[in-house]
């Protein structure tokens, strides 16, 4: 019964795909016109940033099956790279962003290398260690990171002579652009040879190997991609909160990102958006629960695992497989 409901919705959305997308895009573009308070606008931006992080982690965990509990580390590397490039070198926004992504991706590559020998829980523990190591480096490399003092006054991003702020909605639109780019990138990767290899590795690494997939290479690639995306998110996050230190990117953040992926629905893209909305908006809406936030997240995860392990939006689509247009034409001609 409920399954049928989902199926009807799916069918409806796929039939009116263009209209549905137009409505969503128009709605998101129009948000600033409604005169929301800066507090609410900030929340929207946070939702966007965490959706980006979740999309990235989803490539690694949802599609390729490698759980990372150290994603806050990449987030931090992106944020610190941006902040330091801006403050020390007065670098332009895009350059700082690209360097942040490259450095973060490089660290993702290094973290991915243990997949040569480790898998499953052992690998997860290595990622957990990675998150802590990044924090330790931030605290101890004082000459570069200013240690526990943190970095404040991070300059806002600018492009074509305009400086983005919360009030001129530059942050909001920049977030939308980043979210769209990340979404498109992930979509393109997932629906390609690479995405199929990721999914195959997640489901049965031996069978994937026997199909000629170089599993280690693809696992490392998944690490690199998700690190790159987290780095970009970090570079964008730093100027928005204006001040960063080692505690901005603690273990809780890693858990938070993973929670979004699990609650939304691993291995689906739609789930990342809903997951981010629920997980980020929740503490704002339920302020009185703030102190128990992580207790509630923990309970939420347990309940999810018990009753809906595939995540809220983690159903398997019943729409037909998306056959490439050119192939479809030929099949119809042949049949």
């Amino acid at each position: 019964m409920r399954k049928d409901f989902i199926y009807i919705v799916e069918n409806f959305l796929s039939r009116y795909k263009l209209i549905a997308w137009a409505v969503v895009c128009a709605g998101m573009l129009a948000v600033p016109l409604f005169g929301f308070s800066p507090f609410i606008m900030r929340m929207f931006i946070m939702i966007g940033i965490f959706a980006i992080l979740a999309l990235g982690l989803n490539l690694l965990t949802g599609y390729c099956g490698q759980v990372s509990l150290g994603h806050a580390g990449f987030f931090a590397i992106g944020a610190y790279t941006y902040a330091l490039m801006k403050i020390n070198l007065d670098a332009p926004f895009l350059l700082a962003m690209v360097v942040a992504m490259v450095i973060s991706a490089g660290c993702g590559f290094l973290l991915g290398l243990p997949t040569l020998r480790l898998s499953g829980n052992y690998l997860t523990i290595v990622t957990l260690g990675f998150g802590e190591i990044v924090r330790m480096v931030i605290i101890n490399w004082r000459s570069l990171t200013r240690g526990p003092l943190g970095i404040g006054g991070i300059p806002a991003p600018e492009l074509f002579g305009t400086t983005f702020t919360l009030t001129n909605h530059g942050f909001y639109y920049a977030m939308l652009v980043m979210l769209a780019l990340t979404g498109l990138t992930c979509y393109a990767i997932v629906n390609s040879r690479t995405g199929r290899a990721f999914k195959a590795i997640k489901q049965d690494p031996i069978a994937a190997t026997m199909m000629g997939i170089r599993t280690t290479r693809f696992k490392v690639l998944a690490f690199v991609l998700s690190a790159l995306i987290a780095g970009a998110a970090g570079a964008f996050y730093a100027p928005i909160i204006g001040f960063i230190d080692h505690n901005t990117f603690n273990f809780d953040i890693s858990v938070l990102i993973l929670t979004i992926v699990i609650v939304g629905g691993m291995g689906t893209m739609r789930g990342m958006f809903l997951g981010a909305i629920i997980i980020i908006a929740f503490p704002e809406v339920a302020r009185f629960l703030m102190t128990y936030r992580f207790v509630v997240y923990g309970l939420l995860l347990i309940v999810m695992m018990r009753f809906r392990p595939q995540g809220l939006l983690g159903w398997k689509s019943r729409l037909p497989y998306n056959i490439p247009k050119a192939a479809k034409k030929q099949l119809e001609a042949g049949a």
């Binding site: 690479t194 195959a200 026997m210 690639l221 497989y321 050119a326 192939a327 099949l331």
Partner: protein, 260 residues
């Protein structure tokens, strides 16, 4: 030195004391259907695991098209042209049937990562070609009505066929089928027999492990019999059927099974 298509020379595999495969030799010529039979635990699957690089050989060598392939990475062996199915089905259950076959085309896909990122004409063209190829393979094996299904939702017999379809998609020269008829009903087995023959007619070479004697005797050009890791007989189906050692091996196996 070896003029055979696939030449296996005295390969041995030992698992902590147990000699699972003991100096087994055999060969397969191009276009043949060769079967390996033997009682449960004889070492047949272990032979396949060595052929496909899951296990390294302890001693011996495997020569394919004149080149040694033993102890290569499994991926390199697939690229050389050996592809297999699994006795205990190992499909990508959460993926569509057609996606399973597309995974099989992985090594033959030439577009790069950036082609997929930017959806270049090359990407579009190749994806369309691969999809057509996958559909064609599924059609030939009679799975075209399942294209959009998830692999795990298919009946058992169809899953076995999908395993074969996926192996074919790698453009293998030799297909190694590990008990493809297990769990199939007589009619499905009959269809499978025709299908395997049609593969041979298309130029594939087939190495088959199978317990269904009707299938084996009907389809094989030659048969090797393994028992307790050792090759105990070799010959045409008619020769194997009457071979005293083979009958004993099967009966002996049955007896020990009954005892424990």
């Amino acid at each position: 030195m070896s003029e055979h298509y696939l030449q296996v020379n005295t390969i041995t595999k030992q698992f902590s004391g147990l000699v699972a495969v003991d100096a087994v030799s055999f060969h397969v010529d191009k276009g043949e259907i060769v079967s390996i039979i033997g009682p449960n635990g004889a070492g047949k699957t272990t032979v396949f695991n060595m052929l496909t690089g899951v296990y390294q050989v302890d001693t011996g060598e495997i020569i394919f098209e004149g080149k040694p392939i033993h102890n290569l990475q499994p991926q390199d062996i697939v690229e050389a042209g050996l592809s297999r199915t699994f006795q205990n089905i190992r499909l990508f259950g959460d993926m569509r049937v057609i996606e399973n076959v597309l995974v099989g085309t992985h090594i033959k896909t030439k577009y790069g990562f950036f082609d997929s990122l930017f959806r270049t004409p090359r990407f579009r063209r190749e994806e369309a070609e691969l999809t057509l190829k996958a559909v064609e393979i599924l059609r030939s094996i009679g799975l075209d009505s399942y294209i959009h299904n998830y692999a795990e939702s298919m009946p058992y017999g169809a899953q076995r066929k999908l395993e074969i379809a996926r192996a074919i998609a790698t453009d293998a020269k030799i297909l190694l089928l590990d008990e493809p008829a297990a769990g199939m009903n007589p009619q499905e087995t009959e269809e499978l027999m025709d299908f395997i023959r049609s593969l041979r007619d298309k130029g594939y070479t087939i190495l088959l492990i199978e317990h269904d004697m009707r299938l084996v005797m009907n389809i094989s050009d030659r048969i090797y019999v393994i028992d307790h890791g050792k090759r105990i007989a070799h010959g045409l189906p008619s020769e194997i059927q009457g071979d005293q050692r083979v009958i004993e091996a099967y009966l002996g196996g049955a007896k020990t099974n009954a005892e424990d």
